[in-house]
Amino acid sequence: MVNAGDPLVVLDHVSMTYGHGQQAVKAVDDLTLTIRKGEFIAVVGPSGCGKSSMMKLISGLKPTSEGRLTIEGKAVTGPINKVGMAFQAANLLPWRTAVDNVLLPLEIVEPHRSRIGREKAAYRDKARALLASVGLGGFTEKFPWQLSGGMQQRTSICRALIHEPEILMLDEPFGALDAFTREELWCMTRDIHQSRGVTAMLVTHDLREAVFLADTVYVMSDRPGKIIKVQHVDLPRPRDLEITYEKPFQDLVHELRSHIGKH
């Protein structure tokens, strides 16, 4: 059992290479970091710097080439269902309603997988409650095309949470949304993190987003991605959108910006 604040994910000099021989491309290089249980980390950096590769490593979708990666002290050798993922595209299944989309992971992950047939009603209630908690109470039976972009993204995040994962992974989840919707979803993500105590990893281009949400921001370099800056965000929680207009917040964003792409 890992308690809040204890190391949950540990990367020790981890590298990852795509392809073989001449075509081999090093995606990330020499990553060493620790994610504590309940921590919210953000990874920022230029396009193609291996941010997403880092996510795939931790979720067990891609193997490490060098170094050691452990979750709860155990080496990661393949996909672990302790992870829930959401991406920039909501990727909801258009033939399923919102609630049925949220239920999808439970049809894959044990022990729910063997139970869901018999206890469909109970599981649906759980999914409906989760959707209601992100403000979609009246939209559970709607199909994806009947939802706005922001609502689709909320549904997608619910899908990532329904099996109560240890780690919530968000890969530029708000990139395609308009500025106001994006800020609404920042607050939703903040509240989810707060209320569920989930560990979260956010990959983003948006430095304001990173500083607003995260406890620790990692800046990565151009490919092969290395961590070039670790920034702790000591702004008090719970954070209000107002703080984004205040000096300490803006100083942090400014500081981070100076580490990305010198122009």
């Binding site: 979720s59 996909p79 992870v83 991406f87 990727n91 299944l93 894959i108 992950v109 199909f143």
Partner: protein, 255 residues
């Protein structure tokens, strides 16, 4: 009915105008009935030869549907296999392209050698000509599953079978049903082509006999029967498509 003008009135009016034009052209240019019979003469032939047209239509319908049914089964199985595995795709695809490139008329004589003149070559021709679009469409639907969505599921420990069952097959269904509209028309063509080369019955055979006897009205009546049958088959397939993959028609549907 909300769009009755577009959906019912416009096509009926256009068809009626076309037939009227045909009738007028025949009369105005006094075309001989052996070249182009008037629509009214064709209609008369339809009534006069109704028993023969009915029986031969049923025969053609039967071979078309049997061939089409085979095409659905094989098309689905092959399509899922090809969309599933790059290896199977690599192995089968060139052969299938080559096979599809051969005009099916050229295969009919072989089928007749194997199975004799009759119903079976027509069924097989219908099958051979119509299964390719089904395979391609099902395979495409499967192969284009979004990588992110696969990651979401694979990170949960989903097997390839899980991904195909939960995502691949449902998302390829609109492609599948779309291809059925093409396939049913092709199957129909296959049946008739086979009947005109070697058969004892069917609309193709009937028209061949009518042609030999200079019964031009009956040839045209056969064409009319084929057209009506073709429309009916297409319409039924389109209806089935709407019924099963309504979610893919959201723009016009509930949304």
């Amino acid at each position: 009915m909300k769009h009755w003008k577009e959906n019912l009135l416009a096509p009926l009016a256009f068809t009626a105008a076309l037939i009227l034009l045909w009738e007028l052209a025949c009369v105005l240019f006094s075309l001989p009935a052996t070249v182009l019979p008037t629509p009214s003469a064709v209609a008369k032939a339809l009534v006069q030869y109704w028993p023969a047209i009915r029986d031969n239509s049923l025969q053609t319908l039967m071979t078309t549907l049997l061939g089409f049914g085979l095409a659905i089964v094989f098309g689905l199985v092959l399509g899922v296999a090809i969309g599933w595995s790059k290896l199977i795709y690599g192995a089968l695809y060139p052969v299938m392209i080559a096979f599809n490139a051969v005009p099916k008329v050229a295969v009919v004589p072989i089928l007749i050698i194997w199975f004799g003149i009759g119903t079976i070559p027509a069924i097989f021709t219908a099958f051979l000509i119509s299964f390719f679009p089904i395979v391609v469409n099902v395979a495409t639907g499967l192969a284009t599953t979004e990588p992110e969505l696969q990651d979401v599921l694979r990170a949960l420990g989903a097997s390839k079978l899980d991904v195909v069952r939960k995502v691949g097959i449902p998302r390829s269904m609109p492609h599948f049903f779309g291809s059925l509209k093409v396939a049913i028309t092709l199957a129909f063509v296959g049946s008739v082509v086979s009947e005109t080369i070697g058969a004892n019955s069917g609309l193709g055979k009937m028209m061949l006999d009518a042609q030999a006897g200079f019964n031009v009205e009956l040839v045209f009546a056969g064409v009319a029967a084929l057209a009506l049958l073709g429309i009916a088959l297409y319409a039924i397939t389109a209806l089935v498509e709407r019924r099963f993959t309504g979610w893919a028609f959201r723009a016009e549907g509930i949304g």
